[in-house]
């Protein structure tokens, strides 16, 4: 049953969409050069940097899956989800290192290609593109499903509308538009979540919530809950894997002004922590309010609209719309950069000029948006589970990235084997035990392989090679 009338929802949707597209056009009107378009001129400061990192990491998952995990796995589910911030915090020093060693780099693919060679680079591309497309499709599907459940807007229309708006302003303004709109979306999300959190604590009362859970759902408060314990570090490594490998975050490291990357990611991580805690806490209120929950992923909007009525439904609608847009635009921009640089330029058009690349960037964003939209259209329900699946894949890249950035003794063979071994073992754990073990097992196996090779390796990589070759990223042949 929709919690918001369709007319109000459409008015909100149109008003925000006009604002995003207009701002995208305004901020991107001077982005004629490739660096301006792809990396916002590499001049992003701390305020915008922190906001874009935080907003991108607040996805529809943060507002929808955090309450779901708190509902299913209790205290550990809520706290475990907030450990997603560790990815941002730990990436802060990496961002500084990336900017220093690759000041003219474009993508995370550039790093793998220059640091580890062709085989590891292609394994990485397969993992990263699979993950990116999976995330994009899950966001698109979430957009359609959530708008439909919150307001009654049909799935296809909601999905098409959000996709079209995000593709339009990302195409118009490139990374500048993405970062600018992210800043506004961050403010909306933070205010909205603060209001929601306050109301939830105030309405049923903490004591009432605790009593009801302890009486009828005691496992949720049990700090020894096995699945919750397993989930805790699994989610941490899933988040670390997502951030450490993905071009969404590497492109921001390249785009941030020298010396701002560390603090931007640090602040983003700190600001992000309370968001899943606040949204996750919504789930606990459901027991005190005695609201029947039709599906675990519906618990967040249900409680919000129950407590705040129509205004709660509007609030959650705006938060969801903002968090969806802030992640979709970043993903579109960063994935299209990866396809442009690592697939189009490095595989098919090695002699492409920067002007040709600039034009092709727009085409790729459009094609990527259309492809994701087409995959989302049939509304295959189990595609939403795709992200859990990718935990095993992305966690396998953590150690190749970290050791590759800091140690000269790891080579391409070690990182290729680590990624392959991590993926296989993580997926085995996914099916044998549960989704809450896949990333941890993958990261563990990948670490053992990397560390083993480094102990016996005589490789001494010269980090200057990253700098020299990446200077010509968009004009030389491979």
């Amino acid at each position: 049953m929709p919690q918001l009338d369709i007319q109000t929802a459409i008015i909100i949707l149109i008003a925000f969409s006009i604002a995003w597209v207009a701002l995208g056009w305004y901020w991107g009107r001077n982005s004629k050069e490739l660096d301006e378009y792809m990396l916002a001129g590499r001049k992003i400061g701390i305020a915008l940097g922190s906001a874009t990192a935080m907003a991108t990491w607040v996805t529809s998952n943060t507002t929808m899956v955090a309450p779901q995990l708190a509902f299913q796995l209790g205290i550990w589910g809520m706290l475990g989800y907030s450990l997603g911030s560790v990815g941002l915090l730990a990436f802060a020093p990496l961002a500084q290192r990336i900017k220093k060693t690759m000041p003219n780099g474009y993508t995370s693919g550039d790093f793998f290609r220059l640091r580890f060679g062709k085989l590891a680079w292609r394994i990485f591309l397969a993992i990263s593109l699979f993950y990116s497309l999976g995330w994009l499709v899950s966001l698109g599907m979430a957009a359609g499903v959530l708008l439909e459940s919150l307001s009654g807007i049909p799935y296809t229309i909601g999905l098409s509308f959000i996709m079209a708006v995000c593709v339009a302003y990302t195409m118009l303004g490139g990374l500048k538009a993405v970062i600018g709109t992210d800043f506004i979306q961050t403010i909306i999300i933070l205010i909205g979540v603060a209001v929601l959190g306050w109301q939830v604590i105030d309405s049923p009362g903490l004591e009432n919530i605790y009593t009801k859970i302890e009486e009828y759902h005691p496992a949720l408060l049990d700090l020894g809950m096995p699945a919750g314990l397993m989930f805790l570090f699994n989610n941490l490594f899933f988040g670390v894997g997502e951030i450490f490998h993905s071009n969404v975050w590497w492109s921001r490291s390249f785009a941030f002004r020298e010396g701002t990357g560390f603090r931007s990611f640090l602040y983003a991580g700190l600001f992000w922590i309370p968001v899943p805690v606040a949204t996750g806490f919504l789930a606990f209120a459901v027991f005190a309010l005695n609201i029947p929950v039709p599906a675990a992923d519906a618990v967040g909007p249900l409680v919000a609209s129950f407590i705040l009525g129509k205004y709660g439904a509007i609030l959650i609608f705006v938060i969801v719309f903002s968090s969806l847009a802030s992640s979709l635009d970043s993903l579109l921009a960063a994935t299209s950069d990866l396809i442009l640089e690592d697939i189009y330029h490095r595989h098919f058009a090695p002699r492409a000029s920067k002007q040709q690349m600039r034009k092709m960037a727009v085409v790729i964003i459009l094609l990527l948006g259309i492809s994701a939209w087409l995959i989302c259209l049939p509304r295959i329900a189990n595609l939403a589970q795709l992200l859990h699946f990718t935990g095993a894949l992305v966690a396998s890249t953590i150690w190749p990235v970290v050791f590759g950035l800091y140690y000269p003794s790891i080579n391409g063979r070690a990182s290729s084997l680590a990624m392959a071994g991590g993926c296989i073992s993580g997926l085995t754990a996914y099916f044998a035990v549960g989704f809450y073990t896949a990333a941890l097992v993958s990261a563990f196996v990948s670490f053992v392989i990397c560390a083993g090779f480094m102990i016996v390796s005589r490789t001494r990589f010269d980090f200057q090679k990253l700098q020299e070759e990446s200077n010509d990223a968009a004009s030389n042949s491979f």
Partner: protein, 153 residues
């Protein structure tokens, strides 16, 4: 011939006693064995009476049944449950009228058998150690580590 028909008749009676009484609502769960303490109940069939409730009990005869929710105005046909400890749980949709309860659905049994604590502790410890190594590598690890970067300015 009459004897065969007679036997067939009793055979069907026997079969129907095995199947149990027919219910207007078919209740089912997404799992019969939950390792995490959560599961979802779904049902098919119209809930038409105002006194329809979802009941939970710790045995199949519902002696100590407790009402979870009144379903009469509930617009969905599923309910997610979580936070259950090890044990067997029985669910049914029932109608309460004048203090009498009659079942509207079949009974669904769900066994909650949480993962072993030792496995969970092993995963937790492995995760914690791996996380400490990650932090150490980033902050103090190789020649390009964060500490050295800071010192070099």
């Amino acid at each position: 011939m009459t004897h065969s028909v007679y036997r067939l008749f009793w055979f069907f009676i026997f079969l129907s006693s095995l199947i149990g009484p027919a219910h207007s609502i078919e209740l089912r769960a997404d799992t019969t064995l939950s390792k995490e303490g959560y599961f979802t109940l779904q049902w098919q069939g119209e809930i038409s009476t105002e006194n329809s409730v979802l009941q939970i009990a710790e045995n199949a005869d519902f002696n100590n049944a407790r009402t979870l929710f009144n379903l009469s105005k509930y617009p969905h046909n599923s309910i997610a449950q979580s936070g259950y400890l090890n044990g067997n749980y029985f669910f049914r949709i029932a109608e309460t009228r004048n203090g009498n309860t009659s079942s509207l659905s079949n009974t669904v049994k769900i066994e909650v058998q949480l993962h072993s604590f030792s496995l969970a502790l092993l995963m937790f410890t492995a995760g914690f150690i791996l996380f400490c190594i990650l932090l150490w590598v980033i902050l103090f690890g190789g020649p390009g580590n964060f500490k050295n970067q800071e010192q070099r300015g």
